[in-house]
Amino acid sequence: MNEATPANAAAGNPPAAGTSAAGLAGALTVNGIRRQVRQEEAELTLLEYLREVLGLTGTKNGCAVGACGSCTVVVNGQGRRSCKTRVSEVLGKDVVTIEGLEGRDGSLHPIQQSFIDAGAIQCGFCTPGMVMSAYALLLRDPSPDRTAIRTALSGNLCRCTGYQQIVDAVELAAARMRG
């Protein structure tokens, strides 16, 4: 596992002065990389931390009140709204964002490929959150029916697609992942 501090990992973010072991709140893992978290960073929302500190802008801010699901990430295997989560709540935990779903060789996860093939993408702003909610669903239920898919995705708003092809995509992904 790679070890990195947020400051040297995120291009364009200069190291903050005064970083020291004493100022650390703990650590978490983001997309397989262990991150040391400073005290002041622990008070940020996970969404702010991902976007502003780590530069992982795939996770989106659609409402900031936990209603739209655009900011969904997976924490220890469970879907979570990063806008309503403090970094301090996920110290010691394993966070996966949309950037962490693909293979290291850039190969798409079957859920990602299925979203493309089923025509489930329009403006794309809800797509990362949708994909992460689908990922959390398929971790716990590899064979959901369409009603279960709709229920699992109901924390994620989409204004473009009417959900039909998103449900198609998750059904297709589940079939592909079962082999």
Partner: protein, 752 residues
């Protein structure tokens, strides 16, 4: 055809599904400052004074700008220049921005914004359009001497006399609510002063050229000094024109003042508060019928709320006027529409654009009349619908394309099993504790701008020396798949795999203004321009290479080869190489100008649109009599799109439009009170979620349209304009209760 693809094609899908698509708020630049808006605390006020001294002294603050800092025009607009980009003198609605706070960080800018002090003399707001137009009402229309923001009409025959002689007159009043676009991405803009003296704008918007006009106006610079560069847009639905452009203009003002890149990203509450909504309408329909169901006369009055500024109200009203009788021919029509200026958040373009409101009324009137005359909803529609080579209520003869209204209705009737299901509707008598109903609606929709605007678009095809192709077009990607459609059209025209084509990021400095990406004109106008550019390129290549390939008129571009059938041919790459050898660029600029349309404002008669899309949708509902809650069981659609270029994306437009219409019908409520929105985030403003929506089926009907260079028409707005009345008709067939107001609310007491 070789390049026909039945799986979804999108040039942006891979980036979007990886989280790598770059939306405006994802842009990070060295030395970038952050701006935030400061809102008024009033709804209506005068003698505005803004004190920014404390805010300017706050930590990290780089500047706090007000209308006094604007070098160009403070007020701008698409039709009337009445929208203050920063409040000046008066406050007309709660969405007005009195200052812009700019700091090193967003947090610092937000802290500074809280220190801006606003002084003004508060006035009672005018929020009811009827009261706004009553004699003696306070004048709230900026620069006006009354509150009448617009009016329109149709005069055809003697409607009053015809109505008096009808066997049945249906007299009904309906109302529709203001609706939020709720694009998932709130407005965001980044303005970048460039070393070449040009101010570059990247932002979330649906029309870069409109944005450029707003930016240039606010800064008082020429259009050539501003370059708006395409940026991934997280949805628009008509909603990212004026307000999104003004967000860009404010970022531009700060960047120009500071000489630094400035980002201005809206949070959801700001977006709700400031952005325009769908126009609320009140509609009174008096429609007269003969015993056999023929609609003979209509007297129609509409009143709509334009809110604090004009925006595109006259154009929205015009579509309501031209399509005031829905897809039916009526011999005698008197129709009047008025728009009132009020102190509500302003109203403007939203997907459907004046048609969903009208259809909500017309399609219920038809069901009401059918029941009273003892006819079926299908019989009365078949009798009155516009027909091949027949007339519209504006006197236009529909003889240039296939009029397929009967075909789309028959398709939905067949797909849904409408007639059998209609027979078993509950009509107020619950079975197993539920009330069941099915309802249907039909529509026709004039394609593109029609007689409301100058309608043309452009595209550039630039073939590189290795045979790869760069494509640009003046229709913007809002997320609907416009670029992918353009690429597929070009691939088909040139006989190349779509992989050989790249759609370059658009820029206002590289292609002429092709008009707004609105009015379902992306495929017909933008795609049409691409087809014209491709045909111009093919003509140039065939003529240039005539000594090798023979008669230019016989040359085909198919399967990666160029040549006449049975004659000599070259591979595409060889043909391109020969062009460069002869120092003739394989480059073409194409334009598509819409066929002529006409309109007489005094009579409301003319050839309103150059072609129409025909649609039918149906809904099945289940109503819980204990709660009044309406559950959707299934949704059905058929649309004659001319030709579906990218069928999975065409279907995606249909599904998405139906669900937006379902939200309008059943859920969406801004809860306005005294000019303030009660619901201003997605937790309380409910839009449909996956569990609210049933399975949908849409059948694409394809009658290629001779008026369109590609045969394709469009789908974006037809999809949203008729499901609300279909749902209302289904609710009636379930409950026996006619819902005349949106959103539909059923009182459980009435269901007992």
């Amino acid at each position: 055809m070789a390049n026909e693809t039945k799986s979804a094609f999108r040039n942006d899908a891979r980036a979007k599904v990886r989280g790598r698509a770059l939306y405006a708020d994802d842009i990070r630049l060295p030395d970038m400052a952050h701006a935030v808006p400061v809102y008024t605390r009033f709804v209506r006020a005068r003698n505005l004074r803004v004190d920014v001294s404390a805010a300017r002294a706050a930590p990290g603050v780089l500047g706090v700008f007000t209308a006094a800092d604007v070098p160009g025009q403070v007020r701008f607009g698409q039709i009337v220049r009445d929208y203050p980009m920063l409040a000046e003198g008066t406050i007309q609605c709660e969405g007005e921005v009195i200052a812009l706070a700019v700091a090193e960080t967003r947090r610092q800018a937000l802290a500074a914004a809280a220190l801006v002090v606003e002084h003004a003399e508060e006035l009672p707001p005018v929020t009811d359009p009827e009261e706004a137009l009553a004699p003696g009402a306070p004048v709230v229309r900026w620069g006006g001497d009354d509150n009448l923001a617009n009016r329109g009409r149709v005069r055809r025959g003697d409607a009053a006399a015809a109505l008096a002689s009808c066997d049945l007159v249906v007299d009904e009043t309906f109302s529709t609510q203001a609706v939020e676009h709720a694009y998932m991405e709130p407005e965001s803009a980044v303005a970048i002063p460039r070393p070449d003296g040009i101010l570059e704008i990247r932002g979330s918007m649906q029309h870069p050229f409109s944005t450029r006009r707003f930016v240039a106006a606010l800064l008082g610079v020429s259009l050539a000094e501003v370059e708006v560069v395409g940026t991934t847009a997280g949805g628009g639905f008509g909603g990212k024109d004026d307000t999104a452009a003004i967000v860009c203009a404010r970022a531009a003002l700060a960047a120009r003042k500071l000489g630094r890149p400035v980002k201005l990203t809206y949070d959801r509450e700001w977006s709700f508060r400031e952005s325009y909504k769908r126009h609320p309408y009140r509609l009174r329909y008096r429609v007269g019928f003969s015993k056999d169901g023929t609609a003979r006369a209509a007297e129609i009055d509409m009143l709509c709320d334009s809110g604090a500024y004009t925006s595109v109200t006259p154009w929205v009203n015009w579509r309501s006027t031209a399509q005031c009788c829905g897809p039916y021919y009526v011999d005698a029509v008197r129709m009047d529409i008025r728009a009132a200026a009020t102190n509500n958040v302003f109203t403007g373009a939203m997907r459907g654009f004046g048609a969903p409101q009208v259809n909500f009324a017309v399609e219920q009137v038809m069901d009401i009349a059918a029941e009273r005359l003892g006819l079926s909803p299908l019989e009365i529609r078949r009798k009155n619908m516009v027909k091949q080579d027949g007339l519209t209520i504006t006197g236009q003869r529909l003889d240039t394309h296939v009029v397929s209204l009967g075909q789309v209705m028959d398709t939905v009737v067949r797909d849904s099993g409408y007639e059998a299901k209609l027979a078993r509707c509950s009509r107020g008598k619950a079975e197993d504790g539920r009330l069941y109903g099915i309802g249907l609606a039909i529509s026709y929709r004039g394609s593109s701008l029609g007689a409301e605007g100058l309608d043309y678009c452009s595209a550039v095809v630039n073939v590189q020396a290795d045979g790869s192709v760069l494509l640009d077009a003046a229709i913007h990607e809002n997320g609907q798949g416009a670029e992918s459609v353009q690429m597929l059209i070009l691939a088909r025209e040139l006989g190349l795999p779509v992989e050989r084509i790249r759609r370059q990021w658009s820029s206002t400095s590289r292609i002429p203004d092709g008009g707004t990406t609105v009015a379902t004109r992306g495929t017909i106008m933008g795609g049409g321009a691409v087809a014209q550019a491709a045909r111009e390129l093919k003509r140039l290549m065939a003529e240039t290479l005539a000594d090798e390939l023979g008669d230019p008129k016989a040359v085909r571009f198919e399967g990666g080869r160029v040549g006449a059938p049975g004659g000599p041919s070259l591979s595409w790459e060889e043909a391109v190489s020969r062009m460069y050898d002869r120092r003739i660029y394989p480059y073409a600029f194409g334009t598509f100008r819409a066929p002529p349309v006409s309109w007489d404002e005094h009579t409301g008669q003319g050839d309103a649109y150059f072609t129409y899309v025909y649609s039918c949708q149906a809904a099945e509902v289940s109503v819980d009599p204990a709660t009044g809650r309406v559950q959707l069981l299934a949704l059905w659609a058929a649309h004659d799109v001319g030709r579906a270029i990218n069928p999975p994306m065409t279907l995606g437009q249909a599904y998405g439009g139906m669900v937006q219409a379902a939200g309008m019908a059943l859920m969406e409520d801004l809860a306005p009170e005294g000019g303030r929105l009660g619901n201003r985030n997605l937790d309380r403003y409910k839009i449909p979620r996956a569990r609210d929506i049933p399975e949908m089926r849409c059948t694409l009907v394809e009658n290629p349209d001779p008026n369109s260079p590609t045969g394709a028409k469009g789908i974006g707005e037809p999809a949203i304009e008729l499901l609300a009345p279909a749902i209302a008709n289904a609710v009636y067939n379930a409950t026996g209760i006619r819902c005349r107001d949106l959103p539909i609310r059923l009182d459980p007491e009435a269901l007992k």
